[in-house]
């Protein structure tokens, strides 16, 4: 090996290192600015909502002097910039403040409600992708056929029917009438004394506890709301799958695959979908992020103690610490998912891999 080659190799390694460094730096900047933006906007929102935050704590019937005192105690008498400064300072130290509504530290609350939402969203997305992708593929392959139209209608209903409506209907049918699934809530009260959450993801916890009765019950509870959310994302995923697949199926390499004598199944699933998977990852990640925001309506109908409900409830009570905490979480989820889908994208698409 010549020294020349060595040199170029070293240079290439150097270049790659600097490229990675640059990518990391820009990522950090992006994350930092996004967070700051999120914080600022949320804080601003907290100021413009015409709700007196003190009311949430002391109630409507509290005497005037208690209201005033509480206002001061909570620092609402300070100028806004000072409040913001104090808040950001707290956040930087990992302290998101205390929720006045639940009296818990916001972080503790979120540790409780977020796994609930995340578990639901995860199962929902799995269902959505598991059905949405094949449906989308079917629609693309049979473009213009009856099957295509049916998939379109299925998707459209998912889009246009309010989820709380569908939710109640599903409860009525599958829970009340047929008794196939369990009702609202995450777990039966029977398990209140025997089941101890560890991670907050109940399905996982049941597995960790080797509590199969609980697992069955948890599964029976989650399946209905998750299917509902899954249907929701199915609508979107199938639609996008269809259009990505159509795009891939018109590519020249598909003709080449046919020329090789491959079966249609192999061409569709092995080649076209494999390529369509690249942009699909982003779509699924986005829809997952959407579900992670928490659906207030689903959570209300299914009495699911999740993030969406938490944030909405906090917002309605001007419990800004909680709202800010929730926003940060959702922002983080968004950023993380973005990053993750980016990585996955790179993994799936060799063209974007750094070599």
């Amino acid at each position: 090996m010549s020294s020349m080659e060595n040199q170029t190799q070293a240079r290439r390694a150097n270049r790659r290192a600097s490229a990675i460094l640059k990518a990391v730096a820009s990522f950090v900047v992006i994350v930092a600015t996004t967070y700051l933006g999120l914080l600022a906007v949320t804080f601003f929102i907290g100021r413009v909502v015409p709700i007196d935050p003190v009311l949430a704590i002391v109630g409507d019937r509290a005497p005037a002097h208690v209201v005033e005192r509480t206002r001061i105690e909570m620092g609402f008498n300070l100028p806004y910039y000072q409040q913001f400064y104090l808040y950001v300072k707290g956040v930087l130290q990992g302290d998101f403040g205390t929720s006045v509504l639940t009296t818990n530290p916001v972080m503790a609350d979120i540790r409780r409600v977020f796994p609930a939402t995340m578990e639901l969203a995860t199962v929902g997305t799995i269902i959505g992708a598991a059905f949405g992708i094949p449906l989308g593929v079917l629609a693309a392959v049979k473009r213009g056929s009856l099957a295509d139209q049916i998939v379109r209608i299925i998707g459209l209903i998912g889009y246009s029917v309010p989820i709380f409506w569908l939710g109640l209907l599903a409860l009525l049918v599958f829970y009340a009438r047929l008794g196939w699934t369990a009702g609202p809530g995450r777990i039966d009260v029977v398990f209140e004394y025997t089941f101890t959450p560890i991670t907050g993801f109940y399905l996982l916890d049941a597995v960790l506890n080797r509590d199969w009765a609980a697992f069955k019950d948890i599964f029976a509870h989650i399946i209905l709301p998750a299917s509902l959310l899954g249907y929701f994302s199915l609508a979107y995923i199938s639609r996008m799958t269809r259009s990505f697949m159509l795009n891939e199926l018109s590519q020249e390499y598909i003709v080449a695959a046919r020329a090789k004598g491959l079966s249609e199944t192999r061409i569709i699933w092995g080649h076209a979908l494999r390529n369509a998977a690249v942009p699909l990852v982003t779509v699924i990640a986005l829809s997952y992020a959407g579900l992670l925001e928490g659906s207030v309506l689903t959570e209300t109908v299914f009495a699911w103690p999740g993030l969406g409900l938490y944030i909405t409830n906090s917002l309605q009570n001007a419990d800004m610490n909680a709202v800010l905490g929730g926003t940060i979480i959702i922002g983080s989820v968004f950023i993380a998912l973005n990053l993750f889908s980016d990585l996955l994208y790179r993994l799936l698409d060799p063209r974007t891999r750094i070599r």
Partner: protein
């Protein structure tokens, strides 16, 4: 020399909103173990002829022929499965642009192995070995490295070689090469042609070579078919191309600027309506 392929009065038409487009209008030829060139300008139906033989025409197209027979098999009557079994193993086709005709997310090696394992029951390691051999056969210098590369990581010439390897690995008796070199540099072009030439000679394969480059076809092929607007206007020996009778063929030959020739302006084709008939 036995005849591999019989094509008689092949017609390919596409229904479109504005009416039926007849891409191929009655093409007939027979092919043995030889190099047959098909030339003609863009849109003259060269590719559609090739694809019709392969059975790769889009679904909505209508294919008619008095006879379309490959070594005794009536392709028109054959079922989808039968044709699929033929494709890749007995008849293969090289597509024009390696950039677009290789699956971008699959390594070159896997794409080659895929063809092989579709048609033959071979073990993984054997398939790999044969793919490597094939890559070597198409003059790829470092087959082991290229085997694991993705299409975007190789040059156009290399990609085209991989494409050829992929199509030849199952040992087809007939190869249709649809403008296999027009996306490549002139220097690389010749390498590819040399490989194809070898294969025809060594394996006794039939080759349909589709191109718009008359000069190339005349030096490379045994016989040449000249197409215009979906029809064959002339069929002649490659070596006799310069004595072509049809004014279209003559025009095509003439209008190319050549080194060391000074014709200003260049002669242009004067298309006659009766050529269409």
């Amino acid at each position: 020399m036995s005849t591999l392929l019989h094509v008689e009065d092949l017609r390919v038409s596409f229904p479109t909103r504005t009416g039926v487009v007849e891409a191929v209008r009655g093409v007939s030829f027979a092919l043995g173990q030889e190099r047959l060139g098909i030339v003609g300008e863009s849109g003259s139906g060269k590719s559609q002829t090739g694809r019709a033989i392969m059975g790769l025409t889009p679904q909505q197209a209508e294919i008619k022929a008095k006879r379309l027979e490959f070594s005794g098999i009536d392709l028109l009557k054959a079922s989808q499965a039968e044709r699929r079994a033929l494709r890749g193993s007995r008849i293969a086709m090289i597509l024009q642009d390696p950039k677009y005709s290789l699956d971008p997310v699959m390594t070159i090696g896997r794409q080659i192995v895929e063809t092989l394992r579709t048609h033959e029951k071979v073990g993984k390691s054997e398939a790999r070995q044969r793919a490597l051999d094939m890559l070597a056969a198409v003059q790829i210098r470092d087959p082991k490295r290229v085997y694991d590369l993705y299409p975007h990581e190789v040059s156009g010439g290399m990609g085209q070689r991989a494409m050829i390897a992929m199509m030849l690995i199952a040992g087809p008796e007939l190869l249709i090469a649809d403008e296999p070199t027009s996306a490549l540099d002139v220097t690389v072009q010749l390498d590819i042609l040399r490989i194809l030439d070898r294969l025809v000679i060594d394996r006794g394969m039939g080759l349909v070579f589709i191109s718009h480059d008359l000069r190339l076809v005349s030096t490379f092929c045994d016989r040449v078919i000249v197409m215009y607007a979906g029809k064959i206007v002339e069929e002649l020996k490659a070596s006799e191309l310069s004595q072509a009778k049809h004014p279209y063929t003559q025009g095509l030959l003439n209008c190319m600027p050549k080194i060391g020739e000074s014709r200003h302006p260049l002669p242009v084709l004067d298309r006659q309506p009766e050529w269409l008939l």
